[in-house]
Amino acid sequence: MNRSARYALRIASLAVALGLWQLLTSRDIDLWLRFSQFPTVTDVAHTFADRLAGPDYWTDLTDSLTRILTGFLLAAVLGVATGVLVARSRLAEDLLGPVLEVIRPVPAIALVPVAILLFPSNEQGIVFITCAAAFFPVLVSTRHAVRALTPVWEEAVRTMGGGRWRVLGSVVLPGALPGVFGGLSVGIGVSWICVISAEMISGQYGVGYRTWQDYTVVDYPGVFVGMVTIGVLGWLTSTAVELLGRRLTRWLPRTAHVPAARPKPAPAGAAPSPARAAVREDTPAHPEEARDEHLVRD
């Protein structure tokens, strides 16, 4: 299936969902599930348009984004650093491991009291909760990724005279990157859950705060505007993480199912190289692939 057809299918999937929603709500269908009170798609769209015109919506949006990006970036840095430390040092593992393992099962949103006690402002508390939420997925996947590194990579660098920092920079971090991005993808999702919940509990402004406000004044279309906003923002941010991850781990051997990596016409069986990025402009890619053996045999 080509690219545009796949996009068309994706859009159709969203359109069908919206159409179903509109149908159920505009007909006031009550079949055990009660859609009569439910706002219709058009109601939500109107409210959305009004909100977009007003100043509050954009303040909420930037507030939420600032919180989540700050919290998430902090979590990424702390999570990767702690993960590497715990995986590489037995001392660090013994010192930090137990504390981390005890805190880890506590849901980040249950840390609201802690945040209120610890931080002078709500703002910092929300960032703390967001950070705590993303920290553990990043930590755990980094730890696993670092432990799973092929030992010969490190041995190779050490026998070239590379020290601890060289091993860290040239082997551990790049080698663990695919795993780290697994953690970051999970982390950004959990971060959204927590930033919205924290805003609902203790925020001033923010998408979560607005959504909860709308609920308390029984403005259901407003609630749905909030939900749609959260959905779209979450989708955008996790896509950004995903794309960045793919870009940084382009060296991974991939099978041909990466959509963009499969040019359709394959002339004369000489399939063009899928790793466009890997092939630098100075290398005419394919004819040399089998050259090694020729050189030996001829």
């Binding site: 041995e155 005279g161 040239s170 060296w251 090694d292 050189l295």
Partner: protein
């Protein structure tokens, strides 16, 4: 030590072994030595292999690394004294006494799992000896260093770096300025016949090309000793013969001491000035090889006798 994958490849190449020896040696004499490995089929293939490499070398010779490799003998003496080698909970070899003189090529041959890799890792400084000492020029080896490069069987190139960037790594570690690094890496890649693949990632090239890149990477750092852990073990017989010739060629003039571990007796006898036999948890013998690195000497009576001895003492 021997991982499962290593064992797999070893059995695989063991099978090819018969073929490999056949093509390399059986120049119509129908050599028989009672081992049953020799097939004596491929007449004259050895010469062809040599000729093929000759072309490669001619092309590479003009592009020596500018650092003047091979001006003076700069090999290092590696010594193991009464050494017990292995991991703390599992000693692999004990009572090893061996002295590798500067510039010498010592091959270590033995069945898989006999501690060949352990010996190499100890010399590299990755593994401290459990007893006895490992010395370099009379000083105890207390850790890995740039003057003792290690070449692995496979997949030791960093997969996220292009071949060029992999070969550049030791030079970057040594802190060479970028332009000089570039020039040296280009020269090395040409020398091992990888100029055209410089920008490729390791998984995009063949196994033979990866090992060439590893060789270039190990030698680019101008080590005084090169420790090679079955570097050609996963290659097919043809490619392997070519790689052996390439190795001899690129080592020429570096003066580096080489310890080369293999399970292939013919490879050991071709490359080594001396052959060390490892088996049953100890170093059983170290033998001088007559006319090393001479393909035509393969059927010389002295070499054949040694080969027979080696195979007998390895229990094949």
């Amino acid at each position: 030590m021997s991982t499962s994958s290593e064992t797999e490849t070893e059995t695989e190449t063991e099978n090819k072994n018969g073929h490999g020896t056949g093509t390399g040696t059986g120049t119509g004499t129908g050599t028989t030595n009672g081992t049953g490995i020799e097939t004596g089929t491929g007449t004259g293939t050895g010469a062809e292999v040599g000729g093929g490499m000759g072309i490669g070398i001619a092309a590479a010779d003009g592009a020596r690394p500018p650092t003047g490799v091979g001006t003076s003998p700069r090999g290092t003496r590696l010594t193991l004294r009464g050494a017990t080698l292995g991991h703390p909970d599992a000693a692999a070899v004990s009572g090893v006494d061996v002295d590798v003189s500067p510039g010498e090529i010592l091959t270590v041959v033995g069945p898989s799992g006999c501690g060949k890799s352990t010996l190499l890792r100890t010399l590299a400084g990755l593994l401290p000896p459990l007893a006895g000492t490992a010395e370099q020029d009379g000083h105890p080896v207390d850790g890995p260093g740039a003057d003792r490069a290690l070449v692995f069987q496979e997949d030791a190139l960093l997969p996220w770096r292009t071949l060029r960037a992999n070969v550049e790594l030791p030079l970057a570690i040594q802190g060479l300025p970028r332009t000089e690094r570039r020039a040296q890496v280009t020269a090395w890649l040409e020398r091992v016949g990888l100029a055209a693949q410089a920008g490729q990632l390791p998984h995009r090239v063949s196994g033979g090309q990866r090992q060439r890149a590893q060789l270039a990477r190990a030698l680019a750092g101008r080590p005084r000793a090169v420790l090679m852990d079955e570097p050609f073990g996963a290659l097919d017989a043809q490619t392997r013969a070519g790689m052996q010739d390439l190795l001899v060629e690129v080592l020429r003039g570096t003066g580096a001491t080489v310890v080369f571990v293999t399970h292939d007796v013919d490879e050991a006898l071709f490359l080594g000035d001396r052959v060390a036999l490892l088996g049953a948890g100890r170093l059983t013998a170290v033998r001088e090889v007559p006319r090393p690195r001479d393909r035509t000497a393969h059927n010389a009576p002295a070499r054949l006798a040694l080969r027979r001895d080696v195979l007998t003492s390895l229990g094949t």
